[in-house]
Symmetry: C2
């Protein structure tokens, strides 16, 4: 527990210290954001804010995770190592997308939706297979509130591939307001850190070490995100980009899977789910009714924005609701 607290504090301090330097570097490399032409009008003033700020918290998380516990490990069964690798692979997809966007100087100039999905599919399927084969994870998942283990068998791999792709895309869609995804994700990471700690106390041996190491990793991510928020809160000096949102999506999905709790994702990360679902519902409704809309704009947070709620208020409420969703998730586990 002390190690986790240290992880938060050190990661926070590192993010504060490296933040200004990262922003200067991104500016110098001209990694400015090209705002999506269809975003609410008020967002056009965000044009030119340095993007790929996600590199800041991603690298701090990874380095911290490494320093704190990758001293001696077995790469094949070290769950924290698998988790980091998976999050980094997702980050890479986001990075390619960001990079192409910057080069093309348009928000829509990144990877095509098909290219992105194909890459996500490969990474997601590979990690699902890793979990399936991992002696401490396997193919059975816990059903919250029901309190039973659900053995998925071979279906685990395609099902989890789907879960991962939904999570990373949800996270990606949620990244639309200053500080939104970072604050929501810091809460989820803190929750996962505590969960890992609680689970670890009931275990012993290598599994326990794995849990604790993953807990430290999540704690570090939470701390780094809080530090990153110093620069990302409204008015944002830096934006995380797909680089950051894909990393976070990967971290959330991967962590939930390694804990055997992928069904917690839509609850604890309800903010991700709301983004994804609102986009889907909007599209389907739009097609079915030949042009009508349920939400003023999707994802959901833009709907609130266009309804006149202040950006900072939406962000705070998303964070608060995420705290409560995590507490609800906790109740779902302690049946």
């Amino acid at each position: 527990m002390q190690r986790m607290v240290w992880a938060v504090l050190i990661a926070f301090a590192a993010a504060l210290a490296l933040g200004p330097w990262t922003i200067r570097l991104l500016r110098k490399l001209k990694f400015g954001q090209n705002v999506y032409e269809l975003a609410p009008e008020s967002h056009q003033k965000k044009q030119g804010t340095p993007t790929m700020g996600g590199l800041l918290f991603a690298l701090i998380t990874v380095v911290l995770g490494g320093v704190l516990h990758f001293g001696a490990f077995d790469a094949k069964t070290d769950m924290a190592f698998g988790l980091v690798l998976f999050a980094l692979m997702n980050m890479l997809i986001g990075f390619l997308d960001d990079y192409k966007k910057i080069r093309s100087k348009k928000n829509q100039g990144g990877l095509s939706e098909r290219q992105k999905l194909a890459m996500q599919f490969v990474v997601a399927a590979a990690f699902s297979a890793y979990c399936y084969l991992h002696p401490e994870v396997g193919s059975s998942i816990y059903v919250p509130f029901a309190g039973i283990e659900w053995e998925l068998g071979y279906a685990y791999v395609p099902a989890m591939t789907f879960v991962i792709i939904c999570t990373t895309n949800g996270s990606n869609l949620l990244d639309g307001l200053d500080g939104l995804l970072a604050s929501v994700s810091s809460v989820i990471m803190a929750f996962f850190a505590i969960l890992a700690l609680l689970l670890a106390t009931a275990l012993s041996g290598a599994v326990q070490d794995n849990m604790l190491n993953m807990g430290v990793l999540c704690a570090g991510a939470a701390g780094a995100l809080l530090g990153y928020l110093r620069f990302n809160l409204h008015p944002a000096q830096v934006i995380m980009g797909d680089t950051g949102s894909m990393f976070l999506g990967g971290l959330v999905a991967g962590m939930a899977m390694l804990l055997g709790l992928p069904l917690l994702i839509p609850l604890a990360a309800g903010a991700y789910a709301a983004s994804l679902l609102s986009v889907f519902i909007q599209r389907i409704y739009f097609k079915a009714t030949h042009g009508k809309r349920i939400f003023k704009m999707s994802p959901l947070h833009h709907h609130f924005e266009l309804s006149g709620v202040e950006e900072t208020r939406i962000v705070s409420m998303y964070a608060i609701v995420t705290v409560l969703l995590c507490l609800l998730s906790f109740l779902g586990l302690s049946q």
Copy 2:
């Protein structure tokens, strides 16, 4: 632990449900805030916002605490009962102040500083004596980081009286930006709830029950504050008033004392301390230099505001820093 989670969720839901009704009632009673003439200019538009919103979370906390555990108790040794009573006494002082302000239609028309201090002194001294005489509290306090118990003897009562008055006034001074005191205090309350839970696991019998009950009370306060924030975040629809800030100051000071950890207050509630100290430093420096100022304005949050930091950003950063200060406090305990 489950009971605590329920306390948060129920208190949150209650605050959401009762919030609009409370605001309507306060409006009807014409309990509007009269903004201090010397506050930053931008605050003048807050004129007329209903005040005494603190009643919302205070009453929810108290009722919830009552329902959850005052079934059978010994009023003389029930620490949660003592805590609630103490917080309510402080709330009453704040309420009188608010009420007089509203009647006089001026921000400075409340109780005189001397009247307020006299009342605070009586309440603080009484509670300090209660703790001194309580078989499970007594006159020794824990020194964080040093890891020793410090036996204060008779000095406990005057020393703690001083600590309480500093805390409630710090809390009172911190209540200057939309959502500031409520978000900072919700973090502190959550921290105290977790602390009580951790301490309880090492105990048994009546002390354990006392700890757990206080933990539930703090969890309820945290939940009620999160719900209250729905209405208090910028732009605020309601303000807690001295009614709320004195209640919270009392709750923080009282809880820390009952845990035997009053020395944690300046660290965990560092935001309170910063408000109080900045006002003192400003005054002393102003007198010593015959008119120079260290801060553009005190308390500290107004200094940041006049330095051009957005109000919402100051509030978020105060909340984030409080999270980290609570984690640091935790390190100070686990020596």
